[in-house]
């Protein structure tokens, strides 16, 4: 073992992630360790509370995916109580999820991921005219005049010359891993700014339906956005709510703007940038296994046939076989803590299904080094994340899993779109099993979802036209109508992958709550068999560091997963006792 490379903080992600990678003499990563270094204990906090309030707590697990935990949470309560929601509410949720996908993926690409591929400083050398030609050659996006790019370039130049680079300070500018010509860099920087402005409009959809973004509001039993069709409801006066004929039109135009941006900017940029980094189609494959829980129902969660994303597991890259998933099956889903800072009463190597899960924080006792520290103790616990496994297998979740699943299930638009993209990049389907494949899958998925949204809006408008204004089912709102005891699981496909919230309700209060989230599947540490999770496996796949002091390679692969670590770190405590044990040294 020649060197241990430590990247902490991993920036441009959500949450606190630390990567430690051991490299051999040639600079190749031989083993990588992914660690979540922050814990809040939201599930412990949720215990004893009103299940109807849970969404707000769960939602604060993450402010980037901001709505996914809210939705998984209300679904878990609805599943536990067998609480049916009106179709309009389902469609409103779909629209919000759809907007979240497109918004989140675009922001991830431009604001979190792009700087791994785009050298901002290099953009200063670009010729705006040539940039304009480049832009126009790949897309008919309106903002592509030489003057426009000149302005952007000037703006960046002023920033650099001011000596205060701000967020661009200390980037690995000039690193040989940056391969884009200056013009492509300039185009990407311009779109970085464009995307920032564009996303503000997209979130209006969340504001209309949920009151604000981040953290829009949800409601167990439906949606908290009554539809006002009264005369006067649309004048901005008091006689109505935010959801009315005028704002339905606004939503339509927001969807159009999303489609437009994806078609004209996001997809072309992805393909253009990927074209310069084809070697990244050959590294960063994770565990070869992929899992999808399914989501975006047209009718209801009890009708998986109406899902846009259908569930399943793909093992060992085999797209011809799809294994069924059952979230309630203790044989299928287990979480392990053999390398986490937690204790299990059954021993550190046993796995537990979330319903039976337990959590006892034990930082010091499980090998956590006393801060300040230089290095994790990877032989014992080294993360606040647990390691979930599906039938003992480490599986990857997220856009790549979903796109592969759609592809494997023969979804025509997906096959067409993927075919187009792969053809343009001159790559086989196997190229998808890679760092860049993951990034590309995110782009493709955005287009698929954006195109689907108009369909949901049309159904909702048809319902309203037919007089169906219902967005909330009042029947089971009152906890007195609930059974004494109930448990359920709320699942969804978050932008980052399969998400599930497990809830146990007793006497109208939360008895146990836990979230098994996408980044736990992806970023979790090794399991008892020492099998690496997707992050670690991907880093161990064909990565060599050009300069250990500037480990941009690690960032590229890690960012391709779009890490969201606050989500992944959790505490669950099903025994009804305070079991937080704090041992210092």
């Amino acid at each position: 073992m020649a060197e241990r490379v430590v990247v902490d903080p991993i920036t441009r992600i959500e949450g606190h992630l630390r990567i430690e990678a051991a490299t051999d003499d040639a600079g190749n990563i031989s083993s990588a360790y992914s660690s979540g270094t922050m814990v809040r204990g939201i599930e412990t906090i949720l215990k004893g509370r009103d299940p109807r309030d849970a969404w707000a707590f769960a939602q604060r697990i993450c402010g980037v995916c901001t709505l996914v935990h809210g939705i998984a949470s209300v679904r878990s309560v609805e599943d536990a109580l067998n609480y049916k929601i009106p179709q309009n509410a389902q469609l409103i949720r779909n629209l919000m999820i759809g907007a979240q996908y497109v918004h989140d993926h675009v922001m991830h690409f431009y604001h979190l991921h792009a700087l791994d591929w785009v050298d901002v400083v290099s953009a200063l050398d670009a010729d705006p005219k040539k940039t304009s030609e480049l832009a126009q050659s790949i897309s008919d996006y309106a903002r592509s005049s030489p003057g426009y790019f000149k302005d952007v370039q000037k703006r960046v130049k002023e920033l650099v010359e001011s000596g205060q680079l701000g967020i661009f300070a200390n980037g690995y500018w000039g690193h040989p891993a940056y391969k884009l010509p200056p013009e492509a860099n300039l185009m990407a920087v311009a779109h970085y700014l464009d995307a920032l402005a564009w996303q503000r409009d997209v979130v209006k959809l969340h504001a209309i339906l949920g009151g604000k973004n981040p953290h829009p509001n949800f409601l167990v039993g439906g949606a908290p956005s009554p539809i006002s069709i009264d005369a006067g409801a649309t004048t901005g006066g008091a006689a109505g709510t935010a959801l009315n004929v005028v704002t339905l039109n606004t939503i339509r135009s927001i969807i159009q703007s999303m489609q437009q941006f994806v078609d004209q900017v996001y997809v072309p940029d992805t393909l253009a940038i990927a074209g310069f980094y084809k070697d990244w189609f050959a590294r960063g494959e994770g565990t070869r296994n992929f899992m999808v829980f399914g989501d975006l129902p047209e009718k209801g969660m009890d009708d998986p046939d109406s899902f846009f994303f259908k569930p399943g597991v793909i093992l060992d890259r085999d797209l011809s076989r799809i294994e069924p998933v059952d979230l309630n099956d203790p044989e299928q889903i287990k979480e392990f803590v053999s390398h986490s800072w937690y204790d299990y009463s059954t021993g550190k190597d046993a796995g537990l299904h979330p319903y039976d899960g337990e959590t006892e924080l034990n930082y010091s006792g499980r090998g956590g080094p006393a801060p300040p520290y230089k290095q994790l103790n990877v032989d014992d616990g080294y993360s606040w994340l647990k390691s979930p496994r599906w039938r003992g297998q480490a599986v990857e979740v997220g856009p790549l899993a979903r796109v592969l699943m759609l592809y494997a299930q023969g979804h025509e638009p997906t096959r067409e779109l993927a075919g187009m993209a792969l053809k343009k990049l001159d790559a086989p389907i196997e190229a998808m099993f890679s760092t860049l494949g993951r990034t590309a899958a995110r782009t493709l998925e955005s287009k698929l979802v954006a195109d689907q949204m108009m369909n949901w809006l049309d159904i909702m408008v048809a319902n309203i036209k037919a007089g169906d204004l219902k967005v909330h089912n009042e029947e089971m709102w009152d906890p007195k109508t609930w059974p004494k005891e109930a448990r359920g699981v709320g699942y969804m496909e978050a932008p980052r992958g399969a998400l599930s919230h497990y809830i146990v309700i007793k006497d109208g209060k939360i008895d146990n709550y836990q979230a098994v989230v996408p980044s736990t599947w992806n970023a979790g540490p090794r399991d008892p068999e020492n099998v690496a999770g997707p992050y670690e496996a991907a880093l161990q796949d064909n990565h060599s560091l050009h300069d250990a002091a500037q480990p941009i390679e690690i960032l590229r692969t890690i960012h391709s997963f779009d890490p969201c670590i606050a989500c992944a770190v959790h505490v669950n405590d099903p025994d009804g006792e305070e079991v937080v044990k704090v041992k210092v040294r």
Binding site: T44, S162, Q164, L165, G166, N213, L219, T241, P372
Partner: protein, 356 residues
């Protein structure tokens, strides 16, 4: 690098941006912050003399919602803020650098702008023996906060977690999370609470520091009065329904559809100080109450642990259970009966005394 010392006016001038831009910025800010129109010009003059404010943004036990929120700022926009007015020298979610390079960026900014930089904090901090519940680059959040705050001009906490402890500090506070003000005692702290705070309130507060070079007027919880001076209820467009006694009884009844007051379904607007009702969210001319869900009260301390939860009307107490009251009835009856029985025997002995 001689240009390093240039002030914002020179920087803008060099960029071909006229002083009109300041004036406009200040005019608009003045409107947002309820300053008198005359103050705009004064603001513009002050601001031109300032250097781009160095800002170090520390993220601790957070969800990144606050950062997400500031990216939604319309006025000023985040890009205008970070390109034109501030120098965001350290910010996990946005900065290009990672790992050691990122930490160096922070250290450099601290050195260069010693005594002048502003620290923005989102997220709560596990303190003392719990400090290991959150670390960055191997050091605890508490340590990083102390180190970074040491030479700062002021601290702006964004979000209820940094301001008041927020969700990590909600009962039973498993990680021993505390607010910034629990750790830092010797620096001015401006609390921009909210979960998340409104984008304009964050940018507005930063702009105030930027334009006046001073701390804005604060309320007793350390929040800028310009934004936290009034309750949601005070400015709510549904207030007239409250006055008329027209209340939505559930989330999807006629009242709800007509935009009636959400008090009865748990709206915390009357006790929540924030600017949502007048500034509105995301440029969509709406805010939570308008969209149909009651205010959660997210800019207030302890809102996570408020009595009755989010759907209990504000006037409803957290008064225990019917069982407790039934117990009180039984206890009362028992004591009362005992008193009466004792009274009877007293009467009896009085009667016998008379006979004798």
């Amino acid at each position: 690098m001689s240009q390093r010392e240039e002030n914002l006016g020179q920087y803008m001038a060099r960029r071909g941006i006229s002083r009109r831009t300041f004036l406009k910025f200040c005019t608009v800010m003045g409107s947002t912050m309820a300053l008198s129109p005359a103050q705009a010009a004064e603001m513009a003059e002050t601001m031109a003399k300032a250097t781009r404010q160095s800002v170090i943004w520390l993220s601790f036990q957070e969800c990144t919602g606050c950062t997400e929120s500031i990216t939604r700022s319309h006025n000023p926009t985040l890009e205008s803020l970070i390109f034109d007015f501030i120098s965001l020298d350290y910010h996990h979610t946005l900065q290009a650098a990672a790992g050691d390079a990122a930490e160096h960026a922070r250290e450099e900014a601290m050195k260069k702008h010693k005594g002048k930089y502003v620290v923005v904090v989102d997220g709560s901090i596990p303190m003392g023996e719990n400090a290991h519940y959150s670390t960055i680059a191997g050091i605890t959040n508490e340590q990083m906060l102390r180190d970074t705050a040491k030479d700062c001009f002021a601290i702006v906490t964004v979000g209820t977690c940094a301001a008041f402890g927020g969700i990590p500090a909600a009962r039973p506070n498993p990680t021993g999370a505390v607010a910034v003000s629990d750790i830092i005692k010797d620096k001015p702290i401006i609390n921009v609470s909210g979960c998340p705070p409104m984008p304009q309130v964050m940018t507005g507060t930063l702009s105030h520091i930027l334009t006046f070079g001073a701390i804005p007027e604060l309320d007793h919880l350390g929040r800028p009065i310009a934004f936290f001076g009034e309750t949601i209820h005070d400015r709510c467009y549904r207030r007239p329904f409250y006055e008329k006694g027209q209340f939505a009884k559930s989330f999807d009844d006629e009242g709800a559809r007509k935009g009636w007051c959400l008090y009865e379904v748990g709206c915390k607007g009357p006790t929540t100080y924030n600017a949502c009702a007048n500034l509105k969210w995301n440029g969509a001319d709406t805010f939570p109450v308008q969209s149909g869900h009651g205010c959660l009260g997210c800019s207030e301390p302890n809102f996570w642990d408020q009595a009755g939860g989010f759907y209990a009307p504000l006037s409803v107490g957290d008064w225990g259970s019917h069982e407790v009251l039934a117990g009180a009835v039984v206890a009362g009856a028992a004591v009362g009966a005992a008193a009466a029985v004792a009274g009877r025997s007293k009467q009896k002995s009085a009667h016998e005394e008379k006979k004798s």
